[in-house]
């Protein structure tokens, strides 16, 4: 093995990896788990999506144009927005803009802080740095936001009586929603905090693994990984806080009345 690079995997060797899925599929049949179809589709999607990603990235890296990089970031943000909204089916309508903004601001600020201020990439839009870092920032921010929003709206519903009591005492929507906001943000941020605590002891993170396989010095890889962990935590926190602040009000009318389940299907805007 050469010190400076990965051992390439041939297409035939790649096909061999499907053997893992054959074993899993066989187990599914033996235990009647009914997962064969899902496994097959998921395996095919993994091959196709990642191969496509590889080809797109190769093209983006070789073209190295700022507008392609920014366009790609926009597309990633839109896709992440759609996925967040899909994962919170109970959430009120009208959240798209807030979720998009939270992801966009987090994506842009955190990504370019890392590439520009910490790593100091010579060309600001250097796709080899910007694209994978934005991917990690957006991916984690997306997971955090989805978890936080899901928790926010389920906790608000759980506290229907408490919110009524608070509103009756003259609380604003923010004052009435605040305990749920806190619960939701804690729920959204705890997985990140836990993984920061376990990293390096329980698991070697994916990015560091990748750099080590590619021949990087483990200590250099570690430095990158620390930056990545902190950036991912910040992205999750900032994205979740922004998304919650831009979303909770949608569950209240203009007059500050909480729309409990029994009130949601009536036409209540501006009542």
């Amino acid at each position: 093995m050469s010190a400076g690079g990965v051992i390439p995997i041939s297409w035939l060797q790649l096909a061999l990896a499907a053997g893992f899925m054959l074993v899993t599929g066989a187990l599914s049949v033996a235990l009647s788990l009914g997962l064969v179809k899902d496994l097959t589709v998921a395996t095919i999607r993994t091959y196709l999506q990642l191969t496509a990603l590889g080809l797109v990235l190769r093209w983006v890296f070789s073209a190295s144009l700022w507008w392609i990089v920014l366009g790609l970031l926009g597309l990633m943000t839109l896709t992440a927005t759609r996925l967040v909204l899909k994962r919170a089916p109970d959430a009120p309508s009208g959240l798209s803009l807030g979720v998009f903004l939270s992801l966009f601001v987090t994506g842009v600020v955190v990504t370019f802080t890392v590439t520009g201020v910490i790593v100091r990439v010579p060309v600001w839009y250097e796709p080899r740095y910007v694209v994978p870092i934005a991917g990690m920032v957006l991916g984690n921010s997306m997971t955090g936001i989805a978890l936080t929003l899901e928790r926010l709206f389920s906790d608000l519903d759980l506290r229907t009586d408490g919110i009524l009591a608070m509103s009756a005492l003259g609380a604003t929507p923010w004052e009435a929603a605040r305990p749920s906001v806190r619960t939701a943000l804690r729920a959204g941020l705890i997985p990140t905090i836990n993984s920061m605590a376990a990293v390096g002891i329980v698991f070697i993170p994916g990015m560091m693994t990748g750099q080590i396989l590619a021949g990087a010095d483990p200590v250099d890889a570690t430095k990158y990984q620390i930056v990545v962990m902190l950036m991912v935590s910040a992205a999750t926190a900032i994205g979740s806080i922004m998304a919650v602040m831009l979303s909770y009000r949608h569950r209240f009318t203009d007059e500050g009345v909480f729309l409990e389940r029994g009130l949601r299907d009536t036409d209540v805007s501006g009542a």
Binding site: L169, G170, A171, E255, V257, L263, T266
Partner: protein, 224 residues
């Protein structure tokens, strides 16, 4: 002639009941004067709670007009209205913390930023007056019985000195002695110039100045 405090005209409210819209309030009008205790009765499901929510401006989609002390509702911000027309919901909900923290909760809200919270002595006296003399201000609110929690929730509202109290079955979980004490407290509140509108399922209230009955979306005055 006593002076009018809360006035409601032609209140209409629909609610979703099993997928269909039902006119729970179909043109309800009501006047409550300073110093009055008004009793509201009606069969279960007649819309008494809906009327209270509408009067507290806590129900979307309500039409009709409301005024307080001659001032139309539109001229009063919803949060300010609710701190003056104070609803005590049927289910008492206390927040995590001590009894004191619960009683002081309203003073943590923006709507009462300029108000002085009652001191320990005033809180103590109010608790004693409704038969909660055994409950310390430092007691964890989650350790109160249902009846005790209901009275703390009532005090939390009364101590903020609203003008109009809307009490939705304040004595539902109380024994006769405690219910008497609560009735005496609301009577004192009215005697001090406030007004009380209350629903009591459980026992007839002989301290009421007027009595209304809500049925089939309409409100009728009942002779005492």
């Amino acid at each position: 002639m006593t002076q009018l405090l809360l006035s409601a005209r032609d209140i209409y409210a629909t609610r979703l009941v099993e997928g269909g819209r039902v006119d729970v309030l179909a043109g309800v009008s009501l006047d409550v004067a300073h110093g009055e205790v008004v009793e509201l009765s009606g069969p279960s499901g007649a819309g008494k709670t809906t009327l209270f929510l509408a009067l507290a401006r806590l129900l979307p989609g309500v039409t009709g007009s409301l005024s307080l002390d001659g001032e139309p509702a539109e001229a009063i911000a919803p949060q300010v209205w609710r701190s003056r027309v104070a609803l005590l919901p049927q289910r008492a909900t206390l927040v995590a913390g001590t009894v004191r923290e619960n009683i002081l909760l309203p003073y943590t809200l923006k709507a009462r930023a300029d108000c002085t919270p009652p001191g320990d002595a005033a809180q103590r006296a109010a608790l004693d007056a409704v038969g909660l003399d055994a409950v310390a201000l430092d007691r964890d609110a989650s350790r109160l019985s249902v009846g005790q929690a209901a009275r703390v929730a009532l005090l939390r509202v009364v101590l903020t000195s609203p003008q109009q109290l809307l009490l939705d079955e304040p004595d539902a979980s109380l024994d006769d002695v405690s219910a008497e004490q609560v009735a005496a407290m609301t009577a004192r509140f009215a005697a001090d110039g406030g007004a009380v509108l209350r629903v009591s399922h459980v026992r007839a209230n002989d301290k009421a100045d007027a009595c209304y009955r809500l049925a089939a979306g309409h409100l009728e005055r009942v002779s005492l």
